[in-house]
Amino acid sequence: MGKHVVVIGAGVAGMEAAGRLSRNGLEVTLLEKESVAGGHINDWFRLFPDRRDSNEVREYLINLSSDPKIQLKTGASVDKLTRHGSSYLLTTDAGENINADAVVVATGFSLFRSSRKEEYGYGIYENVISSADLEKLFISGEIVISSGKAPQRIGIVHCVGSRDEKVGNLYCSKLCCVTAVKQAIEIKEHLPDSEVFCFYMDMRMGGALYEELYREAQEKWGVNFIRGKVSEASETIDGKIVVKVEDTLAGRPLKMDIDMLVLMAGMEMSEGGSKLAATSGLKTGENRFFASADHHFGSNISNLEGVFFAGTCIAPMNVTETISHARAAVTEVMEYFSNNNR
């Protein structure tokens, strides 16, 4: 057909979409603001719920998107997106102009900046880390606290930056609960004698095999689950973290010293996505993610004809859903081209 599609963002959604588009015979330009493709999956050690090595998924995506029809441009973010007749003109921050017959927006998400929940002291207390930091520790193979010792007791705070009006995020990020459980198990694998406490508001284990993983954490690993939102964390003189929480099921406040506190950062609209929304006229919703045309049957469709959404730029999704969503976006693109040709 000779049509040219620009995919913005070379994360899971972008790579999947680009690969599928090229398989359909389209020319694709894949733009990535970072120096390498892969997105957040590059920072993750293992994936829930089956704990597979994230490299395997990355390799799959790289293979899929390594096609002569796909031109990957790294270090390139989109400054402007304007419509010219039936095509679009994209201007990158490097000043490069790219023409596209259709655009797939796959700008993904940003992890919630944990320091915004000031009461947890992220960035202030040495032993308060985020879920992403913990993944780095997993990759390094060594879980240690600032003193260089292995933590004896680890606390995991769910819903950091999610379901929280104070930081303007009313929505549930959906993946943090299962991530917490996955990480809790991984901690126990590394440090079998440690105690792990998950502080949750509701356990939202709504994916395939998520609940099973939760059960495994309880049954096999003895991970403790305490229902209550952590109110604040503070530091003792010997670098321990004191958490205050209500054990709502016991109906009593609970105070506990913890060696390492892990914050389950939620998902937010990415900066690149916000910038794109501001310059392109793409609509966003109350949750600041892109607003798709219809929740049920038009989640890939934007308010601009020929611009399509793929993946977590519209809402939190796991890898499986992201890949499915990217494939659906490709279907929409193909249909768009075939309708326009008629």
Partner: protein, 353 residues
């Protein structure tokens, strides 16, 4: 502890504080328990910094303690406050500076309520007109007195005679800051540095040479709790709250506590005495207690005011250990000297002599 992290938080909570022409409103509790502090505030602003501060002789309590003791309805409290605003308007001032944190909290709450519910403000205007015939403008700038001292902390440091440094070791004094709950807990954006890491006192401590101590129960209430202290039967709760704080700060070996709320310094001071009486436990280094100060007292000391002019003799927990550490000159025999011929001393001291 990473200080950059804290600074990042502080930078997000900047607050506009007026520069001059303050309408000063006194605090009920402070006038009774820390009269020297309010005197020092006016002295510093007028004499040291040369600012225009006006005090209206007809201003009253804001009724805040009654409001938080739940015997004064919100509408009544709002109208009383509206009358204070009217006095300010009548005197031609726009920058309202309360000495009291409960008042500051109440003003903030009222202004916020009026902002969200304009019909309430309208009703209060009507009430005030009906009751007193007065009319008012809401203040252009509302800052707590500690905000004002915070704003001029550098000027004070420049004119300081002493620093919060142990003159024997050269080490900065380890200072605990205690912020009144109603300063920023209700409206974090109205306090310097926000609710979690308020900077208002920390800024003064840092500027004047001390080191801020961050201990786990730093944000805990002193335990005043209005009705919790006001009724004898409930005071066990009040003292327990302060005790929790002392227990938590003790490992950090604090040299002193500095506060910006009227009640807190009094409670943190008196409860040390009560805990010692009931449980025989004395906090602080060498069992001499942890001296508790208001920010004006500390500013006054730094500027070289006489400790007994600041009213430090009214503290139950002796301040001399800190004065000695800093190297402040004072005359021990003047401590209980009064203007009249009366030279009595507190009873426990008489017994000891």
């Amino acid at each position: 502890m990473k200080n950059e992290g804290k600074k990042a938080v502080w930078s997000e909570y900047q607050k506009e504080i007026a520069d001059d022409k303050f309408f000063y409103v006194r605090s009920c509790i402070r006038q009774n328990f820390f009269p020297g502090s309010e005197v020092a505030f006016l002295r510093i602003l007028k004499e040291v910094l040369g600012k225009d501060v006006y005090e209206h002789p007809c201003h009253t309590t804001c009724s805040g303690i009654g409001y938080h003791g739940d015997i004064v309805p919100f509408e009544t409290a709002m109208t009383v406050v509206a009358r204070q605003f009217a006095l300010m308007t009548e005197a031609g001032y726009e920058n309202y500076v309360p000495s009291c944190i409960t008042s500051f909290g109440l003003y903030t709450e009222i202004l916020d309520t009026w902002h969200h519910f304009p019909e309430v403000e309208k009703k209060i205007r009507k009430n005030l007109k009906e009751a007193t015939g007065r009319e008012f403008e809401a203040p252009k700038n509302l800052a707590h007195a500690s905000d004002v001292i915070f704003k001029f902390r550098k000027e004070i440091a420049a004119k300081a005679k002493y620093k919060l440094i142990n003159k024997n070791t050269g080490e900065p004094l380890r200072v605990v800051d205690h912020i009144g709950c109603h300063y920023a807990k209700m409206f974090p954006s109205k306090g310097v540095g926000g609710a979690e890491y308020p900077y208002v006192l920390a800024g003064m401590i840092e500027e004047w040479g001390g080191q801020v101590i961050d201990y786990p129960e730093r944000r805990h209430c002193c335990g005043f709790g209005f009705r919790q202290y006001l009724v004898q039967a409930n005071r066990g709760f009040s003292v327990a709250c302060s005790k929790e704080k002392f227990e938590s700060m003790q490992p950090f070996k604090p040299d002193m506590i500095i506060t910006n709320c009227p009640g807190c310094p009094m409670f943190l001071d008196r409860w040390q005495y009560v805990i010692n009486e009931i449980e025989g436990k004395q906090y602080g280094q060498n069992g001499e207690g942890i001296p508790v100060f208001t920010y004006e007292e500390v500013a006054g000391l730094v500027l070289g005011f006489d400790p007994w002019d600041l009213g430090l003799q009214m503290h139950q927990t002796d301040c001399e250990p800190v004065l000695d550490k800093i190297g402040i000159e004072y005359s021990p025999e003047d401590k209980y000297k009064l203007n009249s011929l009366n030279h009595s001393q507190p009873k426990h001291l008489v017994v000891n002599v």
